[in-house]
Amino acid sequence: MRVLVTGLSTYWGGRVAQALEDRDDVEVVVGVDTRDPSVPLERTEFVRADSSYSILSRIVRATNIDTILHTHLIVDSTQTSGRTLHEINVIGTMSLLAAAGMAGSPVRRVIVKSSGLVYGSNYQDPYFFREEMPRTRPARTGVERSLLEVEAFLRDFADDNPHISVTLLRFANVLGNFIDTPFAHALRRSVVPEILGYDPRLQFVHEDDVVGALMYATMHDTPGVFNVAGDGNLPWSDVCAIVGKRRIALPPVLTSFANEVPRALRMWDLPPEALMLLRYGRSVDNSRFKRAGFRYRYSSAGTVEAFAQGLRLEGAIGDTNPTYKYQREVEDFFRHSPAVVRPD
């Protein structure tokens, strides 16, 4: 198996590349990103690309890639400007799919990491979204619109290329001690927001299960759309209780307006998508991916509990995230110098 990982320098790209390196049946791992990798990698080849991935078709042709793992969709709108987000999500995916679907392309499998954000969050929603259910209200935020656009591309791509197996994974809110998501960020602070009078049902998926799910989809042929979320759901009040944080209520009317004050004070930075979730929540039906054979390590509540335990450890010993600085010369030396003895 020869795998291309997009967004190598993001948290997910790095984690997935590390996991791929451990497998004997993966011959080649090529990673592309605009920035340097953020984790140490053994045998992954890093190629710097611009954010719209215009050199992808050359890479695919030159390295004879058969599997593309697209981890580089931005789902946290607090990380970038709207323009960059559009560039990376929509234009990036377009070039990626163009490269994968070109004449004579060696690609046989595409796995995409999307988000439950495509379902939105609204009072008319069903309590458990199944993969084929449409959202009940049109998307209003940029990140949701871009993800819907990406999914539409992917749908067309799958129809046009029946010989390529396409897997689309929609992840619930991710929590973990090494990944910064809006909820993880908020739950690290001493007080967390809620919207007065609402206590929505939420689902979470642990960062390890995210990597596990991406790896499972890569190693097994599971074409289709799958929700990925820990079993069960739990109210926001429960989440805060497990993590041991106090809540401050935002008013139920003019909420986003009121949210600007704590945001300016840097008490938290919740994007509009997360604010909607604090009102109506969202749960998905995760049974299809389980039927495809995937086993979760954490339930939704278990994810929150594991996160809380990690926070307590951090509180005792400080930041447990190892730091790493990428140096091209060093990496090149170890990978390609004739002086390095490589076991075959």
Binding site: Y123, Q124, D125, P126, Y127, F128, R130, E132, M133, P134, E151, L154, R155, A158, D159, S165, V166, L168, I195, L196, G197, Y198, D199, R201, D221, T222, P223, G224, V225, D231, G232, N233, L234, P235, S237, D238, A241, I242, P252, Y280, S283, S287, R288, K290, R291, A292, S299, A301, G302, V304, E305
Partner: protein
């Protein structure tokens, strides 16, 4: 039973374009789910002593999660809050409305069933009475379907959900009835029933578009019609203000006799009408469950038939009633 396997092979056949493939794929319930359902039905009935109203404690897979802090289930329902509500409501049930049941034996001890009742009173008093009676005397949970507007309301929506309310989305109803085999209560008249003038009392409005029949057919469960007498007189609407309703975005704005007599207290002060609840024999539909759609005319016919059953039961009960207050 399963003619639509949902394995990976099937998904590849109609990949992403299976949007509408089947709104209700035959629940070839995964192993885990099957276990869960077994858990529900085999749940041990533990009766706590010292409680005013003894209630069976139900244990379900997702509430078993050791990481959980509260008892709120996946539907947002809190068993502790239900127990508290029952404790507070019990005197009202026994001594104010003096609820009397007929045909209680028609309620199933296990398996899913859709309870369909008439709906009345500006702030309906029938739903709590039905739920309370079944939960205390049959020992089964009842989930009440209602307009998803409730979910949008702060505080009220949360309390409603904690006490067993679920938005009336067809998929929610299907999961409760088919996957979890629960009792689900629905008022097909909706706000047309509760918002009607006192002069139209006990005249059933249209039963929606028969959606409840379709849900029961799809879930493969019977409909159990229920007729309630007394709720109409507990909070009769004497005047309605369409203009105020429109301004406040409410389905109706009632002026009730209770408000005229008690002022603002009339919002919560029910008249002590005698409640009689009659459970009719279950209506089974002779159709295959899990179909994508059912014949519209068949659905409407069944819906109308059930409406007639409830209407006739109401007329019969009114013929026998000597007094609004004493039954």
């Amino acid at each position: 039973m399963s003619d639509r396997p949902d394995g990976p092979a099937d998904i590849s056949a109609h990949f992403l374009s299976d949007r509408i493939a089947a709104l209700y794929p035959d629940a070839t319930v995964a192993d885990a789910d099957a276990d869960e359902i077994a858990d529900i039905t085999d749940a041990e009935l533990v009766i706590e002593t010292g409680e005013l109203v003894p209630m069976p404690q139900r244990v379900r897979a997702d509430e078993d999660d050791p990481a959980r802090e509260s008892d709120i289930d996946r539907w947002g329902r809190s068993e502790n809050l239900r127990a508290l509500t029952r404790k507070l409501y019990d005197p009202l049930y026994k001594h104010w409305f003096r609820v009397e049941w007929e045909g209680f034996e028609h309620l199933p001890r296990e398996g899913g069933a859709l309870l369909v009742s008439n709906h009345a009173g500006a702030i309906p008093s029938d739903a709590p009475a039905i739920m309370h009676g079944i939960e205390t005397e049959l020992g089964r949970n009842v989930y009440g379907l209602a307009e998803n507007l409730f979910r949008a309301m702060p505080i009220i929506g949360t309390l409603w959900s904690r006490s067993g309310g679920v938005p009336a989305h067809p998929d929610n109803a299907f999961r409760l009835l088919h996957d979890e085999r629960q009792l689900v209560l629905v008022f097909p008249e909706g706000t047309k029933g509760t918002g009607k003038h006192y002069s139209n009392r006990y005249q059933l409005s249209r039963f929606g578009r028969g959606g409840f029949v379709e849900i029961a057919m799809r879930a493969g469960v019977p409909v159990i019609p229920i007729a309630v007498v007394g709720a109409e007189e507990s909070m009769p609407i004497v005047f309605k203000s369409p203009r105020l309703a429109k301004m406040l975005g409410l389905p109706y704005f009632p002026i009730t006799a209770n408000m005229l007599m008690l002022g603002p207290l009339g919002l919560v002060g029910y008249f002590p009408a005698k409640f009689k609840i009659r459970v009719l024999p279950p209506v089974h539909f002779d159709v295959a469950p899990n179909q994508e759609r059912y014949s519209r005319s068949r659905v409407m016919d069944e819906s109308e038939r059930i409406r007639r059953l409830v209407q006739d039961a109401l007329y019969d009960m009114l013929r026998r009633r000597r007094s609004v207050w004493f039954g």
